[in-house]
Symmetry: C2
Subunit: 244 residues, 2 copies
């Protein structure tokens, strides 16, 4: 008794439904933390079965776009959630415990994008960007020197908003202040030698080995929104990568 006997497209129905819902999510129809319509509402609206909607939303949940609670509903995923804190932070202490870092701001300034920033963030030449420098501490000691670059077009007046909020983490701030949700990221890891600036800020000798993490963070649709370079002391911590 299968319906939709004529489907000209080769694409599965649930994938089309998923695409449509994600598009509505991208358009900002529901902000981080807000509830989505129920399965039954979607099913009725798009004239498909509840099972098809379920499969679409289940995939979105697997992609960390939404979170679901039995009896409550489906909600747009948010870094504001307690258990999403430092979701992308991968430094662990020797004993395997992941301790959340504290942040010490250094500077924030509005600049013209460098060619490298233009390339990494997919900007147009001369776009203004905000450049944030900060230190992150683990067990009370400065372990990471971080440089964050974002477009001023996506995050207008970021420096001012940071001065007011003094947030420990950027991604909840992006959400609450700009409605921009970071959903995934790519990190390029390298071993580098500490330059004089690194050495001074992290209290190591020039030339000491540091783990450099070069991250592009992306919002819905894999659109890059942040470029971040972290230089980490890894004498007492390691970067944990889980492979499947």
């Amino acid at each position: 008794m299968a319906k939709k006997p004529v489907r000209p497209t080769a694409r599965p129905l649930f994938a089309q439904i998923q695409e449509i819902i994600v598009e509505r999510l991208v358009a900002g129809e529901w902000r981080p933390g807000e509830p989505l319509p129920s399965e039954n509402e979607f099913a009725e609206f798009y004239n498909v079965s509840q099972g098809t909607v379920r499969k679409a939303i289940a995939q979105m949940a697997a992609d960390n776009l939404v979170v679901r609670f039995r009896g409550k509903g489906t909600f747009v995923a948010s870094h504001t959630d307690e258990r999403e804190h430092s979701h992308f932070f991968h430094l662990h202490r020797e004993d395997g415990v992941k301790e959340l870092p504290q942040t010490i701001p250094i500077s924030c300034s509005k600049q013209a994008a460098t060619p490298e920033a233009v390339a990494r963030l997919g900007l147009t030449n001369g776009t203004p960007v905000a450049v944030v420098e900060r230190l992150r501490t683990l067990d009370g000691a400065a372990r990471v020197f971080e440089t964050v670059v974002v477009s001023e077009e996506v995050f207008p007046n970021l420096c001012e908003s940071l001065r007011d909020a003094l947030p420990n983490e950027m991604y909840p701030h992006y959400e609450t202040e700009y409605g921009v949700r970071v959903v995934c990221a790519q990190e390029r890891l390298r071993a580098v030698s500490a330059d004089p600036r690194d050495a001074e800020l992290l209290d190591v000798e020039v030339g000491a080995p540091l783990l450099e993490i070069d991250r592009i963070a992306m919002t819905y649709g894999d659109t890059p929104v942040e470029w971040r370079r972290s230089r980490c002391i890894t004498s007492d911590h390691f970067y944990l990568s889980t492979l499947r």
Copy 2:
């Protein structure tokens, strides 16, 4: 018309079925590359619906335990597959291309497990282990110095079997020679300074920054079977980590 109205266990049926099938997989009932029974056969055997079996096996496919082909069947995943080659190798060239490494053997010897190896591999004191040293080249230049430690109980006479086969990769070798399939791994990354041995083998200066990758590879049930330490030159390559 739901069956099984009385289910004393809180565990979902599909999860129980999955557990049972994984147990049979662990027991070696089907070797890497071999086909599993069809959904209908499982469903009839365990007296559940085809949909329940599908959900169980779909999860196993998501975990890379099996691969499925429409019209053909379900097969135990294998590193022997072309597209599984270097599945756990994450060094990419500056242009983003992942070039597969070549291997130059250095040494292989049977030793008593060090305390660190005992701890990392979950062995008992004094267990004999095989220690393999090798260089891996990218673009023709030695870039990675690798030390592999495995239990002789799991891989008896590994050195001899390696001498005969001269394999470029270890995991296909583990499968074909010992029937041991590596399904997941945990890597701890650090920046370290090249010691004299690293420097000589990789042709860099002592103290040069190297990316150290400390990996525990596991078979079914997260049982550790290999401990590997790689020291990598990352001047022309980076380790790619994708976060979701």
